[in-house]
Each structure stands twice: as structure tokens, then as C-alpha cells.
Subunit: 335 residues, 2 copies
């Protein structure tokens, strides 16, 4: 591989000068500069970011650890993050935790060894040691969507409580009284809070949320299927299933379909996180939409503030309800 030395000797200058033109420092004569540029082109030289990072102590790279790449919400988030980062001259390295704490730790460790400048994480669990240590050690860090309580780390997320309330109102208006939820792992904030918001909204309508109507999922498809099966085997199954993310909703649909049940006639369905496919499912699914793109942009902005030595505050956006046909016919507006 050609190095800065090769360029220097070909251009007849010192490595310092080459470095200067590469980092376009003003203090180099136009003639020299163009000779260096020519040498770079001739040799097809590409600066070695590894060496550069070793010397400068920054990598211009952000780490993003997401809970599940297969979840369209997270891939949209990842995309927004990458866009925002690139616009500011940073690249991003994604780690997919696949909803497994061990895998998440693996990625955090790897990213830390790589000396990424800052870390964006949507934690899969609650009390993570690796992440705690990193935060304590002063690694610039921002949580997106989910977070870990008790850490002094800015959080960028969307508050879904109002939307959940709207959803319950919608369901109530349609005559539904027995509502069930498939929640995420209670160690995750989103797992916890979505159930909490749902319960609070139900209370406002004087509706109970019995234990057997709170299914335990892990945000992945299969758990949605299982929880749905459990609901359906109850002596008195619910009239509505609210899945706390889109993948569990997919699982629920799998199971309903397998049993030949029709939505919304036999049972209603709603989901947290809206995705393009929900418009075309049978039937289109009522969902709570997060401002995913903005979440990503804000998170990157906050993280870069931290990385560059400024301070950053948490950001709370709001999610909104998008009603479709999956809970029953009514005003039935879509999108």
C-alpha cells in the first residue's frame, strides 16, 4: 500500500508538506500543492485512516447499536442517523443487537476498542454494565428510542402516551372493551412504558387490564405469535390486541391467519411503530407513528455536540395515532 512517504518522495517534498496539502492547510505554495496533488493522483494514494486516527485520537466515526435490524423502525432510524452523520462529516458503524443483551455488549465493546468518537444506543436491556462503564468513563453517548434509567446520558425519544390514549379512545368508541397488549421486555423502557401508557389510558376509561391480557414479548415476530396464541386460548379472549412494536404485530397476524381469524371482524389489531407495509396489509393496520427520521437527526446532533465538547440535552418528540381498518370500520381515514 502506498503511504504518505511515497507521495512525498515522488513530489520531491517532505511528508509534512504532503500532510499539509492533504489537510488543506493554507501554508503551502500553490506550485508545491499541485505537485503533491499530482503525485497523489499518480500513485492512487489513499490516506490511511487508521494511522491518522492513532495520531489524532479521533476517528470521525459514530457507533450505533440498535436492537434489531430486521425491524423496519430501526432500519429507518439507522438510515436517518447515517444521513445526518454523513452530512456532518462523520461515518457510522452499526451494531445489531438482535434483542440480545450479550450481543449488544459485544458490539459496544468492539466499537469502544475501535475508538469510535461517540455512541448512539437503543438498549436491549436495563442495567447494562458495559454501557454503564462506558458512560462513566466519559464516552460521549446518547440514547435513542429506548434508554437506561439512572444514567446521565441524553435521551432522544418520542413520547407515545398521548397517542396511546388516542388509540384507546378510538377502540372504546368502536365498542371494544376487552383490550390486550403484547409488551416488550420490561427491562426496556419502551417495553415498560408502552404497557404503562396503555394501562393508564384504559384506567381513564374505567377499563381493566388483567394480567392474562398483558402478553410478554421480546419485540420479535415469534414472540408476537406466541403471545397471540396464548390470548386466543383464554376462556375469554380479548377483542383487541395491541402489539408494542411492528414485528410482534406481524407475529400476531401470522397466528391469526393460521387460525383463520379475520381482522377486525373476529379480533382487532393495532401496533406501535408505523411502517409503510401497514398500509397494505390485510387489513391496513392502525398504528402509532414515531417521527423516526427526526429522532435520528436529533440524536446525531446531540451526540456530535457531546463529541465536540459542547453539552447536549435530551429531546422528547411526540408520536401520533394513525387509524386504519384493523380495529373496525368507522370514520376509516387512512394515512
Amino acid at each position: 500500500m502506498t503511504s504518505i512517504k511515497d507521495v512525498a518522495s515522488r513530489a520531491g517534498v517532505s511528508v509534512a508538506t504532503v500532510s499539509r496539502v492533504l489537510n488543506d492547510s493554507p501554508a503551502v505554495r500553490p506550485g508545491t500543492r499541485s505537485r503533491v496533488i499530482a503525485a497523489v493522483a499518480d500513485l492512487g494514494y489513499r490516506p490511511n485512516a487508521v494511522a491518522r486516527s492513532l495520531r489524532t485520537h479521533h476517528t470521525h466515526t459514530l457507533g450505533l447499536v440498535i436492537s434489531d435490524v430486521l425491524n423496519p423502525f430501526f432500519t429507518e432510524l439507522a438510515r436517518a442517523v447515517e444521513d445526518a452523520a454523513r452530512a456532518r462529516g462523520y461515518s457510522v458503524v452499526i451494531g445489531n443487537a438482535d434483542e440480545r443483551a450479550a450481543l449488544q455488549d459485544h458490539h459496544v465493546r468492539t466499537l469502544l476498542e475501535r475508538r469510535i468518537d461517540g455512541l448512539l444506543v437503543s438498549p436491549t436491556d436495563g442495567g447494562n454494565e458495559v454501557i454503564r462503564d462506558a458512560a462513566a468513563a466519559g464516552t460521549p453517548m446518547v440514547f435513542v428510542d429506548r434508554w437506561i434509567r439512572g444514567l446521565d446520558v441524553p435521551v432522544v425519544h418520542a413520547d407515545g402516551r398521548a397517542a396511546v390514549h388516542d388509540l384507546v379512545a378510538h377502540l372504546y368508541a368502536l365498542g371494544h372493551r376487552r383490550l390486550a397488549i403484547i409488551g416488550g421486555p420490561s427491562e426496556t423502557t419502551t417495553g415498560d412504558e408502552r404497557v404503562g401508557a396503555f394501562r393508564a389510558a384504559l384506567e381513564a376509561y374505567g377499563l381493566p387490564l388483567p394480567r392474562e391480557y398483558t402478553g410478554q414479548g421480546d419485540f420479535q415476530t415469534e414472540s408476537g405469535r406466541r403471545a397471540t396464541a396464548a390470548f386466543l386460548e383464554l376462556p375469554q379472549p380479548p377483542e383487541v390486541i395491541f402489539a408494542a412494536d411492528n414485528l410482534m404485530a406481524l407475529g400476531a397476524m401470522d397466528e391469526l391467519r393460521r387460525r383463520g381469524l379475520r381482522v377486525p371482524d373476529d379480533i382487532a389489531l393495532a401496533a406501535f411503530d408505523d411502517i409503510p407495509w401497514f398500509l397494505h396489509t390485510d387489513p391496513p393496520v392502525t398504528a402509532i407513528a414515531q417521527p423516526t427520521g427526526e429522532l435520528g437527526h436529533r440524536a446525531v446532533a446531540a451526540l456530535i455536540d457531546l463529541v465536540e465538547g459542547r453539552s447536549a440535552a435530551s429531546v422528547t418528540l411526540t408520536a401520533r395515532l394513525v387509524t386504519r381498518r384493523s380495529c373496525g370500520e368507522s370514520e376509516g381515514k387512512s394515512r
Copy 2:
């Protein structure tokens, strides 16, 4: 940040010894080893992968440049790639080209500067200079799904011709005669070949593929919508639309829905690339499924062979047709 030197002085040994235990070289006495390990733990030391890479000339990292993260096919591929790589001790850095050649080049350049050990790419265009240069320079490289002709780079992909033929047979049997396709950019091999396979299959049935029935898409949702709109404005619209990827199929569904057309009664729809959502769309979509996971695994295996100095050959798997209701009722088996 604590370095190997700090560990060395705390353990009362030299940096060389610390390095030895870190890379578990056998030549170190158990007692010394445990003192070093203790020092590492006390200090919370994390090896600096940047420095290590500078010295060893490898990063144990693979680059993966995919055409579009928002496409479930590619995210599934990415996931498989990451799994396979991790199992072999490599990490992967993903670059999302968003179907734009310029962005793809940006990522390839960045990855090359990062000195990734090898590159997995699913090219967005046909004649890429950056990629050609990299290949010529001897960067270990493997193409997945799509490739660039005329380069001596192994290709791991799925042959869809038989499946396309089956699809056409299926459509023919259902009585369809006017079949249209929304193709990808002709510079991409998948764009090109899928149209070619479709045309060949039609010929086998004595069916024409008029120019106005070959829509020009770019593998993204919006282009599928536009091409569909164009088809529908023809004096004689097609009876079937075959989208060359799932995102364009989504766009097609958007447009059909907007116009109040029903699938398959008013028009039939099929897609290349099967995804979980297709089972639950209205109606479930007939699609050609690629062995995505295996594609990812094989590609990683081939790339690592190259990286580690072995040779690697191209791999061709085969795609298969999954019939659902979107082309009309018949035997109607699903999944």
C-alpha cells in the same frame, strides 16, 4: 485512555509481555499472566484496535456496501452477513448506497481508507471506477446479489431464471396474457437479468413484451408507483405487473390502491424478493424468494477465503417461486 504501558507498569512487566498475554501467546508464565490479567481488570483497560491495526495491517473488519437499507431483502442479507462474519471473528461495517452511485463510491472510499480487510458489494451501477480500481489494486472483494461485469471478482448470487419461468407459467395458466414488468436500472445486473429472464420466459409462451410494458424503475418505492401509473394510463393496460423488487411492488400497491383497483381482480401483481410482509398484504403477494441467508453466509465465506489468502469461487444458488393470491385464485397454496 489507559494504554498497554499503564498495564505493564501496574503489573510490573514490560509492554511486550502484556501484549503477549493479550494475544494469548503460550510463552508466558502462568503467574505473570495472571498478574497482567489482574492489572487489565483493575484499570479497565481496552486494547486500542486502531493501534493494533496500524501495526498488524489488518482490521478484522469486512465492509458491506448494500444498495438500500430500507429494502428488507438487503437488511436480511446484512444481518446474515454480520452473523457469518462474527462467527468467524470479523466485524462488518455497512455502507448504504441508497441506490445512488455517488453514495456508493463515498462508502467504498471511506471503507478503503479505513483499511477494511475485504469488501462485499452489491453494486448500484455498472461501470464503477472506484470499485474497479479497488479490485485492480487487489483488495479482497466479493459481489453479492448484483455484480459488475468484466471484473475478476467472485459473485455470490441466486439465479432466478427458473423461478421467473415458473412465474410466467403460473400467470399463463391463470389466463393472463398481457404481462408487464417494472425493471431495475439496466446498469445493474439484477435490473438487466430479471427483465431478460422475464422476456425469455414470455417468449417460451409466445407472448410479447412490448416496450411500453417494460417500466423503468430504480428499485425504490416511488419508481414502482410511477411505473404503475404509466402502465395504467396506457390505452390497453397490462393484466399483470411484475415488480423486479419488493420496494417497487410496494410502490405499485400504493398506486393501485390510490386508484381503487383491486388485486388480483382488476390487475395481478408479483414481485421479485419475498419478504415476511408479503404474506399479510392485501392480497398476499406471489413472489420469487431468494435464499437470502445462505447468500450472506456464502459471500462471507468466499470473502474471508480471499482475505486469508486462499482462493474463492463464485457461487450460484437458485431462487424459487412462492405463489399466493395476488395473481388470481387457483391452487392457492401459500408460504
